[in-house]
């Protein structure tokens, strides 16, 4: 009964969504405000029934209802309860339902918190979001219904959740990622609504920006959690593999980064309007493209869901409709939205534009690398795969250039800046950064490595320039400091930019200075790596709730002092009889000690992999800083303030822009 109710709730949600994408638009066309105002209750109805549907699927998992095909395929009565909740989105069908739930949550949140935006505009935005929801709900119901029954031969036990996914990483990573992906739909809907009614003014940018920041911050957390999970769960010791699916989450993030900056220019200066709209369309299109790549099976990846051509066709249609529709709208309507403000070469506008172009070019290189195997194959030019060497070679220089601009952009003024003042502010910092970069690899590692110099140099530059700018902003003209003088969103920017510098530092150091050893060890063997001693004290059997494991005991010594006992495991999950490695990690701010247990080699000997990874934890800290900065900007009070005079004007002109 429960699954039928869930299926039914989803269909009721679909009915609400269909009404949502028709009624408000009819209202806008016929100037019927009553119909426009239906948008909010319809949105909430859609959200409520989607949530109900999701909860009913969760109930099927919790009660071990193996008559449901999806539950039987992804759960087991011995699965610990927290993983039963996570297993709801452990496969294609359920994760799609989670996608829809997130999408309707964003739509619902927008409906509830849009009191300061005029009704006709919100009506359009909600209607466009409704269309996206209809697309995804049809996809779920027609090709991937999670409530499908397995009758009459109901299995007694489920096939269990993939052991790789039985981890805290799974519980938090997909929801964050999907929140980010689907959140970009809000910016997409805003952009399309602006194109439809021809108003892409500063007010439009001000409404869009907090939503984009929210989605971007969630996406940041989602990507970082995915990376962290791959690092400690897959046991390969790496934290980023340029896998097509990682790229699928990374590309929307880079474009969204460009978008939040472009939006700030549009918001404050009224410039870059077409560019901003195009970025908003691209960001969501890339997250749809990611969905297509992951779920259609066109690309080989460790993450891919079971592929099914009919699903691929459906998402391609969804992607095509959304992107072709919005780009056609853009092609016909965009030129009407010409910006009015002018700026000179030495101006914040130029610097943000250069940074933006660098981000877009970086995205294009990642897109090319991701799709290159597919394109070669389509032309029958053979099977190839594009690996990290390509990405490292093309991605790093572009990002290094972007960071140089990024350090200076907050300091330089809008519209026009004297060259001399910029040199005065940043000249010394630039010289010190170059010197620091050149000296760093000698001091740290004893030999010169070009990329380490560049990485550490730009990281130092970014931190120093940002701090200099911060000092200017908190210094009062009469002397002394006041940290409340800059706005909250300025502080958010400072924190997020610092986060980028911290990430670059961590990535550079761990990429060039990690040490690794693949070795055969027998009981009481010791190895030395980067000043640490790893002593192997044998393997014992351990029983988990749904797996058996061989657990190795490693005592780690720093000199004579014992610092840690690491217990890496090799697990065999009983139902899926699948082997899994569980790395043993000793973590401090300065370094991670990482031990993974490999295959048994006979005579009580084991293959063992040992890493010392300096500063890797900076990566996770950086992601936290970046996301925190994003949330700070998002909750700035200027996005909460009511702007009735602007919102009600037929063609709003921002006061700042009109003054130019």
């Amino acid at each position: 009964m429960i699954p039928e109710l869930g299926s039914f709730a989803l269909m009721v949600g679909l009915a609400f969504a269909i009404c949502l994408c028709i009624i408000p638009l009819v209202g806008v066309q016929t100037n019927n405000l009553t119909l426009v105002k239906y948008a909010k209750p319809l949105t909430l109805g859609m959200f409520t029934f989607t949530l109900l549907s999701y909860l009913l699927l969760t109930a099927s998992f919790v009660t071990d209802d193996f008559s449901v095909l999806y539950v039987a395929a992804h759960s087991n009565s011995h699965l610990p309860i927290q993983y039963k909740f996570a297993a709801v989105f452990g496969g294609h069908e359920g994760s799609l339902l989670l996608w829809v739930l997130m999408l309707t949550s964003w739509t619902g949140a927008l409906a509830l918190s849009s009191k300061n935006i005029d009704d006709a505009f919100v009506g359009r935005v909600l209607a466009i979001l409704g269309m996206i929801v209809v697309g995804f709900m049809l996809f779920t119901i027609l090709t991937s219904n999670p409530f499908e029954r397995l009758l009459p031969n109901v299995p007694l036990e489920g096939r269990d959740l993939n052991p790789l996914l039985q981890d805290i990483g799974l519980i938090v990573h997909p929801p964050m990622l999907y929140l980010g992906w689907s959140g970009l739909s809000v910016a997409f809907a805003f952009a399309n609504a602006a194109l439809l009614c021809g108003r892409m003014d500063a007010a439009w940018a001000r409404w869009t920006r907090p939503w984009t920041l929210a989605a971007w911050s969630f996406l940041t957390i989602g990507i970082a959690l995915g990376s962290w999970w791959a690092y400690y769960e897959l046991g390969w010791g790496g934290w980023w593999f340029w896998d097509p699916v990682e790229n699928a989450s990374f590309m929307p993030w880079i474009v969204a980064t460009a978008l939040i900056h472009s939006l700030s220019v549009t918001e404050q200066r009224g410039a870059f309007r077409n560019w901003t709209v195009l970025l908003a369309i691209s960001a969501f299109s890339l997250s749809l493209l990611g969905t297509f790549l992951v779920r259609s099976g066109v690309i080989n990846s460790v993450h891919s869901f079971a592929s099914d051509p009919s699903r691929g066709m459906f998402i391609l249609m969804l992607l095509g409709t959304a992107v072709i529709g919005s780009l056609t709208l853009f092609a016909f309507k965009a030129s009407a939205l010409k910006g009015t403000s002018k700026f000179e070469f030495y101006s914040k506008e130029t610097f943000i534009l250069v940074g933006n172009v660098a981000l877009v070019v970086a995205t294009a290189t990642v897109l090319l690398g991701t799709l290159y195997p597919l394109i070669m194959d389509a032309f029958d030019l053979g099977k190839i795969s594009v690996g990290p060497p390509y990405y490292n070679a093309v991605f790093s220089p572009i990002i290094a250039l972007m960071v140089v601009v990024m350090g200076a952009a907050p300091i330089i003024r809008w519209k026009k800046n004297k060259v001399g003042t910029l040199r005065g502010e940043l000249g010394l910092i630039a010289l010190i950064s170059v010197a620091f970069g050149v000296a760093f690899p000698f001091v740290y590692g004893g030999e010169f490595i070009g990329w380490v110099s560049i990485g550490m140099g730009v990281a130092f530059w970014l931190i120093a320039a940002t701090l200099k700018n911060l000092k200017n902003n908190v210094t009062l003209s009469e002397g002394g400091y006041d940290i409340t003088r800059p706005t909250q969103s300025y502080w958010g920017m400072v924190i997020a930019h610092m986060g980028i510098a911290v990430a670059i530092t961590g990535a550079t150091i761990v990429s060039y200075y990690e040490t690794q050893l693949d070795i055969r060890m027998t009981v009481n063997d010791s190895v030395h790596l980067s000043g640490y001693e790893f002593k192997f004290e044998g393997v014992k059997d351990v029983e988990g709730p749904n797996y058996s494991a061989k657990q190795a005991q490693f005592r780690i010594f720093d000199g004579d002092k014992e610092i840690s006992l690491l217990q890496p495991e090799r697990r065999v999950y009983r139902v899926q009889t699948m082997g899994m490695t569980e790395a043993g990690i000793d973590s401090t701010l300065g370094r991670d000690l990482f031990v993974a247990l490999g295959d048994p080699l006979g005579d009580q000997a084991w293959a063992v992999r040992v890493y010392v990874k300096p500063l890797i934890n900076l990566l996770w800290i950086a992601a936290g800083l970046i996301a925190f900065g994003g949330f700070m900007c998002m909750t700035d009070k200027r996005y909460r303030a009511k702007k009735p005079s602007i919102a009600q004007a037929p063609v709003a002109v921002d006061p700042i822009v009109s003054a130019v």
Partner: protein, 182 residues
């Protein structure tokens, strides 16, 4: 002119969409093997059914034969198994490579589902599989009378793949043998 520029993103996406559409009909997992045209790598392994019998390349005999990589942990192998029995009944020699598996479980499997193999080499550490370039199971290699690998096929062998991929090559091999006997 200005108008045309605004159409560029649309044109770009339509081009991209065409590739994505084409991609739906391609199989990214169809990997040509570097070993096609090369001899079967050397091996010396125990067999599954007779624990003490050691087999090497010299034990692989026949005008042409299949080398099938299988394991009890591999669900797709179970799906493939009945078809392998059919092929074996039709007179084709199949040699098994029991890949990274447990000997007891493998024996149980062969007893329960019948044994289509002349023998199954017990490749417990996966070293032979590694030399064959195997990245999963099931995989099937077609080997000719000179011991040269003619085809590497990843995935489940079924009626269709047998007809389309294997049969034409087997005809080729038969023709070559007939030609060399003349």
């Amino acid at each position: 002119m200005k108008r045309f520029v605004l159409f560029l993103p649309l044109i770009f996406f339509i081009g991209l969409g065409a590739f994505l559409y084409k991609g739906l009909f391609l199989n990214p997992k169809a990997m040509p093997s570097a070993l096609e045209g090369q001899p079967v790598p050397a091996f010396k392994l125990l067999t599954v059914t007779k624990g003490d019998r050691v087999v090497t390349n010299a034990d692989l005999v026949g005008e042409y034969y299949l080398l099938n990589v299988w394991a009890t942990w591999c669900a797709a192998c179970k799906a493939e198994h009945p078809y392998l029995l059919d092929i074996a009944r039709s007179g084709v020699s199949i040699y098994g490579v029991n890949y990274k598996d447990d000997m007891v479980a493998a024996n149980e499997w062969l007893t329960r589902y019948q044994d289509p193999y002349q023998f199954s080499a017990f490749d417990v550490d996966g070293l032979f599989g590694l030399n064959l370039g195997v990245y999963g199971a099931p995989e099937t290699f077609l080997v000719d009378h000179h011991g040269i690998i003619r085809l590497r096929y990843a995935g489940v062998v079924d009626t269709r793949s047998w007809k389309v991929r294997f049969m034409p090559l087997i005809e080729d091999i038969k023709r070559e043998i007939a030609a060399s006997n003349m």
